[in-house]
């Protein structure tokens, strides 16, 4: 007997209708609301990606991506961010099992990796601006700084958020609302990671290969 048949044979009375079961648990409602925010954020990034793709060849005689991008830096940045998503997942597991030390440790490693990413990105931006490849140089560079800078701004805010959440864990313990916020944070952090994979592909890999 397959599963579909088995579910069909459950008497209908056994499953309460949605209205009888009462409102959805707060955890579900909070995560649902945060997903809507994330989707709006993704739409904004989609618009930035589209404008970058349109403007990537409009260098106005200035430097191109192939001349500017340092693949080693980008590789280290990518490793840091992807690994920080992993440690963020470990932190979520520690939160679920109410382990303080592992939560703090996971948060600390996530924060450190995010900070390394951000430091490398800021250094990259400053070195580009130092050789005259600033946002006002060409449409390509305006689009580049807007797209990559917007992602960097998200990472910065994520680090601030993570710091505040660790203070809240220290003050409130694993209260329900602290857990909800940590759940939202991990959704946010993973979403940023996905956006970075897009940035890596569209900006850096395609920029160097073409």
């Amino acid at each position: 007997m397959n599963i579909a048949v088995a579910i069909d044979q459950i008497p209908q009375e056994a499953l309460p209708s949605a209205s009888e079961a009462g409102p959805a648990p707060k955890r579900i409602v909070v995560a649902y609301g945060f997903w809507i925010f994330l989707l709006s954020d993704i739409i904004m990034f989609a618009a930035l990606f589209a404008s970058y793709a349109v403007l990537v060849r409009s260098t106005a005689g200035g430097p191109t991506g192939a001349q500017l991008f340092n693949q080693t830096t980008v590789a280290i940045e990518t490793v840091c961010l992807l690994f920080s998503s992993y440690t963020c997942g470990l932190m979520s597991l520690a939160v679920n099992s109410r382990r303080y030390f592992r939560t703090y440790l996971g948060a600390l490693i996530t924060f450190a990796l995010g900070a390394i990413f951000l430091g490398l990105e800021i250094r990259e931006f400053l070195s580009m601006i130092a050789i005259g490849a600033a946002p006002q140089r060409s449409a390509f560079l305006s689009a580049f700084f807007t797209l990559v800078g917007c992602h960097g701004l998200h990472v910065t805010l994520g680090l601030v958020w993570l710091t505040v959440m660790m203070v809240q864990v220290a003050v409130f313990g694993f209260a329900a609302r602290v857990q909800h916020r940590l759940l939202c944070f991990s959704l946010f952090w993973h979403a940023l990671d996905i956006v970075w994979v897009g940035v890596l592909t569209v900006v850096y890999l395609m920029g160097v290969s073409s």
């Binding site: 505040v164 809240q168 003050v171 609302r177 916020r181």
Partner: protein, 72 residues
């Protein structure tokens, strides 16, 4: 139910300050706005009691008043 809070209003005030300061390149005022909005949000997130319980009797009273209104 979530408790009433002035956070939205105060944050919107600081958002207006940020917008004005950014348009006119008044960087110190923009940072005042950012820190103000952040501090407001932080205060909000550290409230210990952020929910109010609506007693069942009160809801029953509302429903009865509503039904009386519909019937009349």
């Amino acid at each position: 139910m979530p408790k009433n809070s002035a956070t939205g209003f105060v944050t919107a005030f600081f958002a207006v300050v940020i917008g004005f300061a950014l348009i006119w390149h008044i960087w110190w005022l923009a940072s005042v706005g950012v820190f103000g909005a952040f501090a407001t949000l932080l205060t909000f997130s550290f409230r210990r009691h952020n929910e109010v319980e609506v007693p069942a009797e009160e809801i029953a009273r509302f429903v009865q008043a509503h039904q009386a209104g519909v019937a009349a």
